[in-house]
């Protein structure tokens, strides 16, 4: 269809072509002695213990952050779903604000809040005495706190959508038949909200797997994630082949989750997110 042509053209020129170059870079070596194709960089990318530990960091940090985020998002979504439309719109603003706030602003705020002289440690000092300090910055705790903050809005809205979509009659029927509140929640409300939970969790996982800023600004040396490693080889050591191969590995990990999400949602991948 002719109207879609400009966007298709843009995708071919700015997406397909660059991706093709990344793939080419990851399998092609050109030296003075000649050029050849090789899978050597992928062999390195999936066997080198340094890379494996970075993948492990990435997956561990992402999964843990999404799990904690989910435990905090569900109560918020549930609470929002029980409010009148007007109150819900007002309270939603509290979740929308971090959603629309630049991740750099949030990272800066967390360096101030979590630092050794930060807000949290000042409060801890007041309660437990001046010398008491909890190390929250430049380590994994700081990274996870910031990613949890980042993913909560991504999860609240899909969960809220699946809670609001439930017909109120189901609840009434269960009440009439004498079910307790706890029983109604665990047997009806919660199971019916699982698609929203899964959508939010998978979307958050996809977003946090590729995160760069948070580990770079709030993490320590041992909290490097894949994106930081890619940046290191691309910009600092100029090992473009390995940077390309690592990008493809990250893409592959991400795509596993994207396929799961598509299975779950059909074609309307993002329509509830915004």
């Amino acid at each position: 269809m002719i109207f879609a042509l400009p966007m298709v053209l843009m995708l071919v020129l700015l997406f397909a072509a660059p991706m093709a170059i990344v793939i080419y870079m990851s399998v092609h070596v050109s030296k003075l002695s000649g050029s050849y194709y090789t899978l050597e960089f992928y062999r390195q990318a999936i066997t080198d213990s340094l890379y494996l530990s970075v993948y492990w960091n990435t997956v561990a940090i992402s999964v843990l952050s999404v799990a904690v985020g989910l435990l905090l998002s569900y109560p918020v979504a549930y609470h929002l779903s029980r409010q009148t439309v007007r109150v819900r719109a007002l309270l939603s603003a509290l979740v929308l604000l971090p959603f629309y706030t630049s991740i750099l602003v949030k990272s800066y705020a967390f360096t101030v809040i979590l630092g050794d002289d930060g807000v949290i440690n000042q409060m801890i000092g007041l309660v437990f005495g001046e010398s008491t300090r909890v190390s929250l910055l430049f380590n994994r705790t700081g990274v996870i706190i910031a990613i949890v903050h980042f993913v909560i809005p991504l999860m609240v809205f899909p969960i809220l959508a699946s809670l609001v979509a439930q017909p109120p009659a189901l609840r009434t029927a269960a009440e009439v038949m004498g079910a307790s509140n706890a029983r109604i929640f665990w047997r009806i409300t919660f199971p019916l909200s699982l698609p929203g939970v899964a959508t939010g969790a998978i979307m958050s996982l996809i977003m946090s797997l590729g995160i760069f800023i948070t580990p770079a600004l709030l993490g320590g040396r041992r909290d490097m994630m894949i994106a930081n490693l890619i940046n290191y080889y691309l910009r600092e050591t100029l090992d473009w082949q390995i940077a390309a191969a690592l990008s493809i590995v990250l893409l592959a990990i991400g795509m596993i989750f994207v396929v799961m999400l598509m299975r779950l949602r059909g074609a309307q991948l993002f329509t509830n997110a915004s």
Binding site: M1, I2, F3, A4, P6, M7, L11, L14, F15, P18, M19, I21, V22, L72, V76, H79, V85, A89, L90, L94, V95, L96, L97, P98, Y100, T101, S102, I103, L104, V105, K106, Y108, A109, T111, V112, I113, V119, Q122, H149, I206, L209, G210, F212, I213, A216, L217, N231, R235, A243, A244, S247, L250, L251, G254, L261, M262, A267, L269, F270, S274
Partner: protein
């Protein structure tokens, strides 16, 4: 009835307490940054001893920060225009016409939205480098359009699905030309989604970091790139002022979205 309700609310207080704590966690970073920005020293202080506009004065007198700010507005503005130019017709095509592989095309058009941005940034770094566009504003706008256009597309498509095609058909029957149908019926009804699609493209570009980090030069650096360097390498108080100004931008966006949502609810068709 009254006792039942009060038992319920008594039982629910742990939930409410937890939810309030999460709200505090969500909003605290923005609030703290705003408070710090009114400090009067080069070292950040929380809470500040005396309130002043000192840090804002530093910001408005710093050429490097102001250039980065202006660059971000230019790149985001151009990205918004370009995104709309490709996304609007594409959404119209897939919403109003059936053709071979239409469902496949829908997936294809939002593909960049599900690829990690760092991977896209690596591709653009190689590709734009070969075209000699690394470090240029053109390269930045092209890169940002690639990641913003799918979101504009999604928003406009969602809006088009709400516009009843029968209204367009009615206009046609009454003798309106295709162009007139488009300009007098479809586009006016679609206006909220068009505004939303443009806004999201602007904000995505304005906030985008990794692509700009890879392909901008010191002459074309955007605000997020400047901020990253400042947080990482300098201990400049200006970050607090910039962060507060950006929070103000997010607040405006939140208000627009909240207003839009309550407008939609006021219309009888959308609920249920």
């Amino acid at each position: 009835m009254g006792t039942a309700a009060s038992t319920r609310s008594r039982r629910q207080w742990p939930l409410t307490a937890l939810v309030v704590l999460v709200y505090i966690f969500l909003v605290a970073p923005s609030l703290i940054v705003i408070i710090i920005s009114f400090g009067d020293t080069d070292e950040y202080m929380f809470p500040p001893r005396r309130l002043s506009f000192y840090i804002y004065q530093l910001y408005f007198n710093d050429v490097q920060w102001l250039n980065a700010t202006r660059q971000s507005f230019i790149v985001a503005g151009l990205t918004m225009v370009l995104s709309m130019a490709v996304a609007l017709p594409a959404a119209y095509a897939t919403a109003r016409f059936t053709f071979f592989m239409r469902a496949g095309l829908n997936y294809l058009l939002i593909l960049p939205a599900v690829v990690p941005n760092v991977v896209i940034a690596v591709g653009l770094y190689f590709y734009l480098g070969q075209l000699g566009l690394n470090g240029t504003t053109t390269g930045l706008v092209l890169g940002h359009t690639l990641i913003a256009a799918p979101f504009s597309f999604i928003m406009i498509l969602a809006g088009l699905r709400q516009v009843d095609p029968n209204l367009e058909a009615a206009a046609r029957i009454m003798g309106a030309s295709e162009l007139r149908v488009l300009t007098r019926v479809t586009i006016p009804l679609l206006l909220p989604s068009i505004v939303g699609g443009a806004l999201i493209a602007f904000l995505m570009s304005f906030d985008e970091f990794i692509i700009a980090f890879f392909i901008s030069s010191s002459a074309t650096e955007t605000l997020p790139v400047r901020m990253f360097a400042a947080i990482r390498w300098e201990i400049s108080p200006i970050i607090a002022a910039v962060s507060s100004l950006l929070t103000l931008v997010s607040l405006v966006a939140v208000m627009l979205v909240t207003l839009g949502a309550s407008r939609k609810r006021a219309a009888p068709s959308s609920e249920g």
